[in-house]
């Protein structure tokens, strides 16, 4: 079976400093990969390199496109990469403000990706927007409200709806539950789990919260100082950590 994403030796340097280095892995359809590490571990740098927001200094990121097979997105032309970003890929930012248009209504936010791929029937666009708002548990009567009128959790769910409306196959998430209240986090994680399963999504989730990866990720990569120090099944890495740093991380988590 062809991997959906094939990452080979990705490295990004800031002068002499390592952003991330020697990262390789394969991701298959329906798999969720968690990337954990503390601040400065390189996890966000890695995510941005994979998602095309940063240009890596070395390595390849091959994606199984619908029509052209495995293509290296690092060397793709910008128009193609931007098109990928609107259709097959999605990016959920930590702060909803970075992933939404705050001066456009919720319906307009969700409909934008549809209009960007030539949806031209207002009523149909609106119907799809209402459907997606429902799937992320936002009431249909909020469709014309601006995101500025939403709570943090709702904004984040709106961001997810906006990203998933075109049926992407790969979702990048950067601390999707960061900054949200605990109960709101739980609801969001439920939602993500359900959507990942229903839509057979693959996802790469960067977080510093081990509870989030345990819930969402099938596989886990632990990063420290720009390198991957351990990788494997999520429950195995968390229950039987091998590397000193992973053991430290796991033992530091407060139990409730």
């Amino acid at each position: 079976m062809t991997p959906l994403l094939q990452v080979e030796n990705i490295a990004k340097f800031y002068g002499a400093r390592i952003g991330c280095a020697d990262v390789s892995f394969d991701l298959y359809p329906g798999e969720v990969m968690g990337i954990v590490g503390e601040s400065g571990s390189g996890k966000s740098t890695l995510l941005n390199c994979l998602a095309g927001h940063l240009v890596p200094d070395r390595g390849a990121v091959r994606f199984d496109t619908r029509t052209g097979g495995l293509r290296n997105t690092v060397t793709m032309s910008e128009p193609e990469r931007r098109m990928l970003g609107r259709t097959d890929w999605a990016f959920v930012h930590q702060h909803a403000r970075d992933g939404l248009r705050m001066n456009v209504s919720a319906g307009g936010n969700v409909g934008e990706r549809l209009m960007a791929v030539n949806a031209r029937h207002y009523a149909e666009i609106r119907t799809q927007a209402i459907d997606w708002l429902g799937r992320v548990e936002i009431m249909a009567d909020r469709i014309d409200d601006r995101p500025t009128a939403f709570s943090g959790g709702m904004q984040q769910r709106l961001q997810i709806a906006r990203n998933l409306v075109t049926g992407p196959r790969l979702v990048f998430m950067d601390e999707p539950t960061g900054g949200l209240d605990v109960s709101v986090q739980a609801r969001l994680l439920d939602l993500l789990r359900g959507l990942v399963r229903e839509m057979r999504l693959s996802a790469i989730i960067v977080t510093h919260d081990l509870a989030v990866v345990r819930l969402l990720a099938d596989r886990l990569m632990v990063m420290k100082d720009g390198h991957v120090v351990e990788t494997g099944l999520t429950d195995q890495v968390l229950d039987d950590p091998q590397h000193a740093y992973t053991q430290l991380l796991v033992s530091s988590v407060l139990q409730v």
Binding site: E78, P79, R82, R86, R101, N103, V104, S105, G107, G108, G111, E112, R113, L114, M115, A116, V117, R120, H121, Y122, A123, I125, R126, I143, D144
Partner: protein, 289 residues
């Protein structure tokens, strides 16, 4: 005899603007940057249109200047006098007799011919500006033909107002490629953007020129279920009785009385001269200036 170079601008500047115009005509609807000059009127008063007119005028041209359809407003008069003084060209109020027409926010009712040039004054050339403030990003969107955001604007209109509420500066797609702001002309004028004349658009403060060559396809953006409609007030002109021209609304007394009249003064005068009279009109006489 004046102390000015012909049409105020020096020859090198005119060449630079003409090169820009040629590029704009070669890429219909594409905003071409140009080195906008300091003009003897402030930004926001038509400096872009004036520079374009100055670059295309020749001594044999006949110039018409209108402001919201009228030849006799202060600004139209000022600009017309400016070119009389600096270029010595003939001037006219009759659309049919002009070879160059500079306009603010209207297209004349009378169809233009292949030998006519119309120059539009443009405040904000970028149709996506109010949704995407970054110039870097809008340039990318144009170059990659990523216009989803434009339809978001129309979507927002319908969701807030029940219909596409944009009444002027209604965005269009030119020759199936570039989305363009046609300047703040009423949407009623949009169909006229497909014409036999040459159309030049100048934005002085924003330093952009764009153009539409004759017989170019210009389509107003819409949704399949909310098609574009060039609407106007549902009245006839009170002075000449025309049903098909864009109307200004004039309050005539302090009891709410109002009269609708053609915004295009030349069109109205021509009709009245031919004997048409509206409900408020009197038969045509030569008016005092």
């Amino acid at each position: 005899m004046t102390d000015y170079n012909f049409a105020y601008l020096d020859e090198q500047t005119k060449r630079m603007i003409r090169r820009t115009i040629l590029k704009g005509l070669a890429i219909p609807g594409y905003q071409v940057p140009f080195a906008s000059r300091e003009m003897p009127m402030p930004y926001g008063w038509g400096t872009g249109g004036v520079q374009v007119s100055a670059a295309v005028l020749t001594p044999d041209d006949t110039l018409k200047v209108i402001d919201q359809g009228a030849d006799d407003t202060t600004n139209a008069v000022s600009i017309r006098r400016f070119f009389q003084k600096t270029a010595g060209v003939a001037v006219t109020e009759a659309t049919a007799q002009a070879s160059v027409i500079q306009t603010r926010h209207r297209i004349p009712e009378q169809d233009l011919r292949e030998d006519q040039i119309i120059v539009y004054q443009v405040p904000i050339p970028e149709p996506l500006r109010f949704l995407e403030p970054s110039e870097v990003e809008t340039r990318k969107m144009h170059s990659l033909e990523e216009y989803g955001l434009m339809h978001v604007k129309l979507y927002e209109d319908i969701s807030q107002h029940g219909d596409i509420a944009t009444a002027y500066a209604y965005p269009v797609k030119v020759e199936g490629r570039y989305v363009m702001d046609p300047s703040p002309i009423p949407k009623f004028d949009n169909p006229k953007l497909e014409m036999a004349g040459i159309q030049l658009f100048g934005a002085g403060r924003e330093q952009r020129i764009y153009a539409i060559p004759p017989y170019t396809q210009v389509v107003s953006l819409d949704f399949d279920d909310y098609p574009f409609q060039p609407t106007k007030a549902d009245h006839a002109c009170g002075l000449c009785g025309a049903h098909d021209s864009y109307l200004d609304e004039l309050i005539v007394d302090d009891e709410g009385g109002r009269v609708f009249m053609c915004s295009d003064t030349d069109y109205c005068a021509t009709r009245r001269r031919a004997g048409h009279v509206g409900t408020h009109g009197t038969p045509f006489e030569e008016d005092a200036a």
